[in-house]
């Protein structure tokens, strides 16, 4: 008699009219004597009927829906092309940004790794030269020149205690604005130079430090409105003292 008691699946199949005629009649007969199950099944059936009625309207072709195949295909093609174009733009933007970013990184790394590299460069180029903007043999003259061009700079100390006297100075410039190279010389012709300029975006204010670059040694610090660097021969023991004196004075 188990054959007569329909399974849950069969009840659903009954609602959906998926049973063969014989079984359908059997289930129907069984439901007739099982009012509780019959009520359940009737509820499902009523829900389905209501749903069908409520949704019938949604199967009407909508004015906004394209019904023409050619039209659809054309839209599809356009959409694909737009998608490709967008993808290409993204790739390009990433490429440009990436390469550009990489390039900038190289540049800024080079600069970040070598603080006051421009000071060392200026020393190499100009410190040995006889052609300086001004020839200033005494410290007072040099001080005046410095004050004229760099209003916010402090007092240039007298370095004669270390054996250095002024030779001259040169006004330079970089993209951050003016810079200056002040050259000093001792009795034996050894030269040191003081470089100063404004901090910029590539030349940020930096902690005090020093580094050796080939035969030269740079001591650098920031104070007031400027970055300073003292460049001397790496083997010149007076570098530390001169640097200290300049740091205190300027």
């Amino acid at each position: 008699m188990t054959r007569l008691i329909p399974s849950e699946d069969e009840l659903h199949a009954y609602v959906d009219d998926r049973l063969d005629a014989v079984r359908r009649a059997e289930v129907q007969a069984w439901l007739a004597s099982n009012p509780q199950a019959a009520e359940r099944v009737e509820g499902w059936r009523a829900d389905a009927r209501r749903l069908r009625a409520a949704l019938a309207g949604y199967a009407e072709p909508n004015a906004g829906t394209p019904v023409n195949r050619q039209h659809l295909l054309r839209q599809a093609r356009q959409r694909r092309q737009r998608r490709w174009a967008a993808a290409a733009m993204v790739v390009m933007a990433l490429g440009v940004g990436g390469l550009g970013g990489w390039h900038v990184r190289d540049v800024s790394l080079a600069r970040a790794d070598l603080p006051m590299a421009d000071a060392v460069q200026a020393h190499r180029l100009f410190a040995g030269s006889q052609v300086l903007d001004i020839q200033a043999r005494d410290a007072e003259q040099m001080r005046g020149w410095l004050q004229r061009h760099f209003s916010q700079v402090g007092q240039l100390p007298d370095l004669s205690g270390y054996g250095f006297t002024p030779v001259g100075a040169r006004l330079l410039s970089n993209e951050q604005g003016p810079a200056a190279l002040l050259v000093f010389e001792d009795g034996s012709g050894r030269r040191i130079s003081l470089f100063l300029r404004s901090p910029g975006e590539h030349y940020r204010r930096m902690p005090t430090g020093q580094r050796v670059d080939g035969p030269l040694e740079a001591r650098y610090w920031s104070h007031g409105a400027y970055n300073f660097a003292l460049v001397s021969q790496a083997d010149d023991r007076r570098g530390a003292g001169v640097g200290e004196a300049l740091r205190l004075g300027l």
Binding site: A13, L51, R52, A54, L55, Y58, L72
Partner: protein, 173 residues
């Protein structure tokens, strides 16, 4: 699909759209979904079918695309959440739907069912697909179709019957 006449074509699109509207509960994304479905079907000419099989196949494509879209949305929401812009959880019934549903309490209950339950009821009760076709369209075994159907119908019954009938127009916009 190529040899459908204009009337059949229209009807097919309309049924796809109905399925899509009630799957997404949003007419805008339903149109996109139908469009994408037809695109995909047309691009797979070698798999073309006819008649009833064609219809079931199109429902299959549409449902897969719908699931893909859901997955993308979830991913998108996760990204947004990552950036601290958590979106409020999707309401069980979208605003858009309330415009459609208006006074029809039956549809309000239906719209509250889970996506998978709605999809199955649409295919079986509305579109008249066989259990086997529905199983194929939804990518699930036939046993799952039966148990899901049972749960869906029970849930719908409870929603229509158990909850007090909401007033005809809950929100006017």
């Amino acid at each position: 699909m190529q040899d459908l006449d204009d009337h059949q074509w229209r009807q097919l699109l309309a049924r796809l759209r109905r399925f899509a509207v009630w799957l997404t509960r949003d007419p805008g994304s339903a149109d996109d979904l139908v469009q994408a479905t037809v695109e995909r079907a047309l691009s797979r000419r070698q798999q073309q079918r006819d008649g009833e099989a064609l219809r079931a196949w199109l429902f299959t494509i549409l449902y897969r695309l719908f699931l893909d879209g859901k997955r993308r949305d979830r991913l998108h929401a996760r990204w947004l959440a990552w950036f601290g812009r958590a979106e409020p959880d999707a309401e069980p019934v979208g605003d858009n739907l309330e415009d459609i549903v208006l006074a029809q309490a039956d549809l309000q209950a239906f719209a509250q069912l889970k996506d998978e339950q709605r999809a199955l009821l649409l295919l079986v009760s509305i579109e008249g697909l066989s259990y086997k076709e529905a199983a194929q369209a939804l990518g699930i075994p036939i046993g799952t179709v039966m148990s899901r159907l049972s749960r869906a119908r029970t849930a719908l019954r409870e929603l229509t019957e158990g909850a007090p009938q909401p007033p005809a127009l809950r929100r006017l916009k």
